[in-house]
């Protein structure tokens, strides 16, 4: 019988005594008695449970929510927790920095803050202020108002001290996460190859596919369900790639969102914009492209922009692959076009051409760490005469699935790309959508904002050529000073 083996602060941990539904947080607190790491919400929305894992491939530390990570997922990994930073002869720079700035008051969010700062300390790309917010936004603090924490983070971001943690980044071997684990009838398998996966899917009708688990784990941590048989795609290398081809981009389905962000933001800034406000750093370090699409949530943040870009979903099975337009992938509320024995393999989209305009918006109650009230991926391709040849206006939060505004698109086709055209066409939006009212926003708000985002798209892309769209990700309208 296989065991889950990993290290915590350098100590080897090896177990076959826990359910594969046990979270890393539960294991740290209840089995290892390491109670420094806290549970604040058990849903990845507060960051108190943040720990770091060593990413041996990328030679970086990755802050993650230990409350959403199932124990088999850390098989072969090195975990660092708040208890592991201090040396006998002194504190870690992130600890000194936070204490000196009085960045802790009640101290309960602090272990998580420390571990997000820890990742920041060894990153070499935190060269702008907004990136610090992006790095830290997965941690809530109710006491300080954040200013001292940001100041403390500024002091250590990118510090990259030459210490045992830096050495470990160099030395740590890339270890396989492949595992076949079971405990009292509950199973978790992470196969290494697709053919192995097909065997499992053929023979085991109970098997449920998981990847980063940032959504699925909520059934365990919030609904107290048992997921008896999980099959993870995480260790299948064939699914994890980013290819920048001449005319198109291909993205493997198990790319994490932070990997995706690093590759795609410079290439297609509109997607980078969305990923800035997609979620917490901790979530982005675990959640995958495929996971975001396969949950088929109407408020998933990637579908609108990918559909607007004209993306295709490439579906794999033992039989081979089939490609469908991504918009057809979402067949109903939380329901995809995947058939039994199929998985989402990759996403492919053509690079936007010279005459195209593309943008992504996300409007939520709170800008960071929130679910969209309305999101939008908007694309037009213009003729030489500035008339609209192609339009794809896709919205999230407006229907049971991510959905294009077909009537609005029709209304702008062939028209001149200006504010008058858009203002007239947006009235069609009410034919396209009958959104719900809920705690995130009323139907009135959703409709009004969706219309306004179309106006904003024209205003903003008028002001900024597609090439010059800043990489600086901003998920909402940036049209300051326009008259």
């Amino acid at each position: 019988m296989e065991k889950i083996e990993f290290t915590v602060n350098g100590q080897v941990v090896c177990t076959d005594q826990v359910s594969p539904n046990t979270t890393l947080l539960q294991f740290l607190r209840n089995e290892l008695d390491q109670t420094g790491t806290k549970e604040g919400c058990a849903e990845g929305d507060c960051g108190a449970c943040t720990v770091a894992i060593l990413d041996a491939e990328k030679k970086s530390y990755r802050a993650i929510n230990s409350c959403l990570v199932l124990l088999p997922m850390v098989h072969g990994k090195e975990v660092v927790t708040v208890e592991g930073l201090q040396d006998p002869d002194g504190y870690h720079p992130v600890q000194d920095s936070l204490v000196e700035e009085l960045g802790s008051q009640c101290g309960y969010c602090t272990p998580g803050i420390i571990m997000s700062m820890f990742e920041a300390c060894y990153r070499n790309d935190l060269d702008e202020d907004w990136k610090l917010n992006d790095q830290m936004c997965g941690n809530l603090c109710r006491c300080t108002g954040y200013r001292p924490i940001l100041d403390a983070t500024k002091k250590i971001a990118g510090l990259q001290p030459t210490d045992r943690f830096a050495n470990r980044l160099e030395e740590a071997p890339v270890r396989s996460g492949v595992i076949n684990y079971s405990h009292l009838g509950e199973r978790y398998i992470a196969p290494a190859r697709l053919d192995k996966l097909w065997d499992i899917l053929e023979n085991e009708s109970e098997a449920q596919i998981i990847s980063g688990g940032t959504d699925l784990s909520l059934l365990i941590t919030k609904k107290f369900q048992t997921l008896p048989f999980l099959v993870s795609l995480e260790s299948i290398d064939e699914l994890r790639f980013f290819r920048d081809q001449d005319n198109f981009v291909e993205m493997g389905s198990t790319l994490t969102l932070s990997e995706l962000e690093e590759s795609i933001a410079p290439l297609v800034p509109a997607v980078g914009r969305m990923l800035r406000f997609f979620g917490a750093r901790q979530i982005k370090n675990r959640a995958t492209l495929g996971g975001n699409l396969c949950t088929a949530s109407p408020i998933g943040d990637l579908p609108p922009i990918l559909i607007a870009l004209g993306a295709e979903a490439v579906i794999l099975s033992r039989a081979g692959e089939r490609a469908i337009p991504l918009e057809d992938f979402f067949v109903d509320y939380r329901k995809t076009a995947l058939k039994k024995g199929e998985i989402l393999g990759k996403i492919r989209f053509p690079k936007p051409g010279k005459n195209s305009r593309v943008i992504a918006y996300k409007v939520s109650k709170r800008q960071e760490l929130d679910i969209s009230t309305v999101s939008a991926g908007l694309f037009v391709e213009l003729s030489e005469h500035n008339t609209i040849n192609t339009a794809r206006f896709c919205f999230g939060g407006m229907a049971a699935t991510p959905k294009r505004a077909a009537n609005v698109e029709k209304a702008v086709l062939g028209k001149v790309w200006n504010q008058d055209t858009v203002s007239a066409a947006v009235e069609e939006l009410e034919q396209d959508f009958k959104p719900l009212s809920d705690h995130r926003g009323s139907a009135w708000y959703r409709t009004t904002v969706a219309k306004n985002l179309l106006r904003a798209f024209q205003l903003e892309s008028n002001e900024t050529s597609p090439d010059a769209l800043p990489v600086r990700p901003v998920a909402t309208v940036q049209i300051g000073g326009l008259s």
């Binding site: 849903e43 009640c106 101290g107 272990p111 809530l140 709170r366």
Partner: protein, 770 residues
């Protein structure tokens, strides 16, 4: 003046637990190691908002695997009541159910998983009744928890009748979840003779002790309640910790095993009280210059299903309906409505913010009506010299610092220049507008239930010269312990590392008040100082012999740099002095006690001197609003706050910043949504949004008022916990100004729904554009 080098007083300091927080060493209730007998308790709660329980059968659940006890109201040996003031809150419901999440039974088992499985076996039947879910419904049905409280001055009806300008309006403010990062938790450990040791995450260990005594029917001496620290409190652990601790205690007494009751986030948010929503109607009379001549306010608090502290919270709302402004003629009426929602409770500001919002909205509308900058209207109406220095309840406002704060802040924030810049920006920008506004605060310091203004301390010196410091206050992150350490170190002239600050415990200091009302350091600081002074008097006697000082001059011996020093230059190490004192058979422990003098209030008359003094502050807020989505961002915030002569400025700055953001959150993104059946829909951080990193102002300048000693308070300091919360209220004025930028005509009057979510702001913008 204190010697800067020798005393830590008025100096920068790190948080006393800072390194323990950042290493994970700091222990909270759920982190306490327990023995192998330890059990956990899960509370079984009501699924309905109102009705009669016709069946609650736990027999099957008791038989479930891993279950040790399932307890209902019948199993309570003492009094089934957990209310802090009125006796209206059964610990476990008997026949009547009054809100969703009300506690019905306690399941005690080996693990939460066992308890959850057993919960499915509890059989429950009820006859549902129509619940009261809003203040408006409560008013219509005459459903109240308290009689009206009225404060009057002058003839308000005549003032309104004679006035040149009169405005009428309504203001509603919503609830707010405390969202302390550490949820409610208690661990009860039974001991010999039916005694109990309780670890409770509470702001009020003495009340937890008292309520457990009542529930179990045992005297308080049998119960020790201990609180090391809380992972945040904000008022939410003043009364709301007691049910959790009492149920843990009940479970421990029945099973004779340690029992821990810990709420996960969803349980915490659905089962505990929140900030009171308020609904107010007002009528204001004012002059052409914007001077308020009279104000009539009728306000109603949503108390939820039981009284809790609602009366005192309503009182404080009435006491702060004036905020910083003199109102010649007035009538304030307040009453607490009873609804079938969770019983609302203390939350930073304790009704004060809800009162301040009303007068600030009144002023915003006066400004809009007269086309005057609301900042000017605010300043014109400030309290000042007699006769404009009498609060509505008759207290004379001495040493008012509003005008000084206003002048210094206008200058430091470059208010006038920026206002001009903003005007220019708004003229040129059609879709993005900015607004700048000023928000003052005057906040009364003291428990308004005067008897609570007392505190105790216990200081133990060991013969090696090390010290244990006990006091009645609790640490919830606010830095109280850091301040108490500072006061103690200052008194003995020893370095702080010689002093250990002990867990707050009812066997060290009895009959304490809650750490609340911003009063923690005022009250406990004085008590600590008194205890130190007693010990110093004894030590001086010993030292006078050692230092060749005549006993009549013993008082001239000072304690600095870890030494006792005589004016003649002789000195002895503190540890040597203590050892000598021990050898001389001198007692090295002492208690200290303090009670705030001369405060009282007569609710029937609506008059008195409820406050020892007032704390003041001011903020200038600049906001940028997106006209297409209603989203907005604080561009810059400047705060000048009065904490007297700060005991520890670095701690106070943290309080000011944190309180401001919390106040801002209450009025911006924090929206509680309830279903038509009385279920909270926003019960986790997934749906309930407290401010996150990017909600902090882009530029945040916080200054403490300098050279501002407060007479008669510990070392000239002032309370800081709550007052700056109200500076966040300025977001409404700033937003109103930015929204006004979308209107072509200058004077207009629009609604702005609170909380000012992006949706609320966009609605106002759309209305203004029309």
């Amino acid at each position: 003046m204190t010697d800067k080098k020798a005393s830590p007083l008025h100096q920068h300091s790190i948080h006393e637990s800072g390194y323990r927080h950042t290493t994970g060493e700091a222990i909270y209730v759920d982190d306490i190691p327990t023995n192998r007998h330890a059990l956990v308790g899960l509370i079984f709660v009501s699924p309905i908002a109102k009705g009669k329980l016709t069946k609650l059968s736990v027999d099957q659940a008791k038989q479930a695997e891993g279950i040790r006890a399932v307890l209902t109201a019948k199993d309570i040996p003492g009094i089934n009541d957990i209310a802090p003031v009125a006796h209206d809150e059964p610990l476990l419901a008997e026949s009547e159910v009054q809100c969703v999440g009300q506690h019905l039974a306690l399941i005690v088992g080996n693990s939460l998983k066992h308890c959850r499985n057993a919960a499915k076996l509890i059989e429950i039947e009820y006859r549902e009744e129509k619940p009261v879910l809003t203040i408006e419904q409560a008013i219509a049905q005459d459903s109240y928890l308290t009689p009206p409280h009225i404060i009057r001055r002058g003839d308000i009806d005549k003032t309104l009748a004679d006035a040149k300008h009169v405005l009428k309006g309504k203001v509603s403010t919503g609830g707010q979840d405390h969202f302390y990062l550490e949820s409610q938790a208690a661990l009860a450990i039974p001991d010999e003779q039916g005694t109990l040791h309780i670890h409770s995450s509470t702001q009020h260990p003495s009340e937890v002790q008292a309520k457990i005594g009542e529930v179990l029917g045992i005297p308080r001496e049998r119960i020790v309640v201990e609180t090391r620290r809380m992972g945040g409190g904000f008022g939410g652990k003043e009364t709301q910790a007691a049910p959790v601790a009492a149920l843990a205690a009940l479970g421990a007494i029945v099973t004779k095993c340690p029992v821990k009751v810990w709420f996960n986030r969803d349980q915490d948010m659905t089962q505990t009280g929140k900030r009171h929503p308020f609904y107010s109607e007002y009528e204001v009379a004012f002059s052409d210059e914007g001077m308020i001549e009279g104000l009539k306010v009728k306000t109603f608090a949503d108390g939820g299903w039981s009284c809790d502290l609602s009366q005192a919270i309503l009182d404080r709302c009435l006491f702060h309906l004036d905020n910083s402004y003199y109102i010649p003629s007035l009538e304030f009426t307040g009453r607490v409505a009873k609804t079938n929602l969770v019983s609302n409770t203390a939350f930073r500001g304790f009704g004060g913010p809800q009162g301040v919002v009303v007068i600030e909205e009144v002023i915003n509308r006066i400004g809009q009506t007269l086309n005057l900058d609301s900042t000017l209207v605010r300043q014109r109406n400030f309290y000042g010299d007699a006769p404009r220095n009498i609060a509505p309840y008759g207290q004379v406002i001495e040493d008012c610092r509003l005008q000084r704060i206003f002048e210094e802040l206008m200058k430091s924030s470059s208010y006038t220049e920026r206002q001009n810049d903003i005007q220019k920006f708004n003229d040129e920008s059609s879709w993005v507008k900015r607004g700048i506004a000023f928000q003052p605060v005057k906040f009364g310091i003291s428990f308004t239930h005067s008897v609570l203004n007392q505190a105790g301390a216990l200081v133990l010196i060991y013969s090696d010269g090390s010290i244990q410091l006990n006091h009645g206050g609790t640490e919830m992150g606010q830095g109280l312990h850091t301040k108490m350490l500072t006061i103690c170190a200052h008194e003995f002239g020893v370095s702080k590392d010689r002093i250990r600050l002990m867990d707050t415990a009812t066997d060290k200091v009895p009959n304490t008040s809650a750490t609340a009302a911003s009063s923690g350091s005022d009250l406990n600081g004085q008590a600590v100082r008194e205890a130190c002074k007693t010990l110093k008097a004894r030590l001086r006697k010993v030292a006078s012999k050692m230092l060749a000082v005549d006993t009549s001059h013993a008082h001239e011996i000072s304690f600095v740099n870890n030494q006792a020093k005589a004016p003649n230059g002789n000195a002895v190490e503190f540890s040597d002095l203590v050892q000598t004192a021990y050898n001389s058979q001198v007692s090295l422990s002492a208690t200290g006690y303090y009670a705030t003098p001369d405060i009282f209030y007569d609710r029937d008359k609506g008059a008195g001197k409820p406050f020892h003094y007032f704390a003041y502050g001011g903020a200038v807020l600049e906001v940028e609003v997106n006209g297409l989505t209603g989203e907005y961002k604080l561009k810059r915030v400047d705060i000048l706050h009065d904490v007297g002569d700060s005991l520890v400025p670095s701690i106070d700055r943290g309080q000011v910043e944190g309180a401001f953001i919390q106040g801002f959150g209450w009025l911006s993104c924090e929206e509680m949504v309830w279903s038509d059946s009385g279920h909270l829909k926003t019960y986790s951080p997934d749906t309930y949004k407290i401010p996150a990193f990017s909600d902090a102002p882009e530029a945040f300048h916080v200054q403490l008022l300098e050279r501002a000693p407060q007479h008669n308070v510990i070392h000239g300091s002032k309370a800081v916990g709550e007052p700056p919360f109200m500076l966040g209220i300025g977001i409404i004025a700033a937003l109103r100004k930015a929204i006004a930028g979308f209107n072509s005509s200058s004077a207009f009057d629009t609604e702005l729904k609170i909380p000012c979510t992006a949706e609320s702001v966009l609605r106002s913008i759309e209305r203004v554009r029309e």
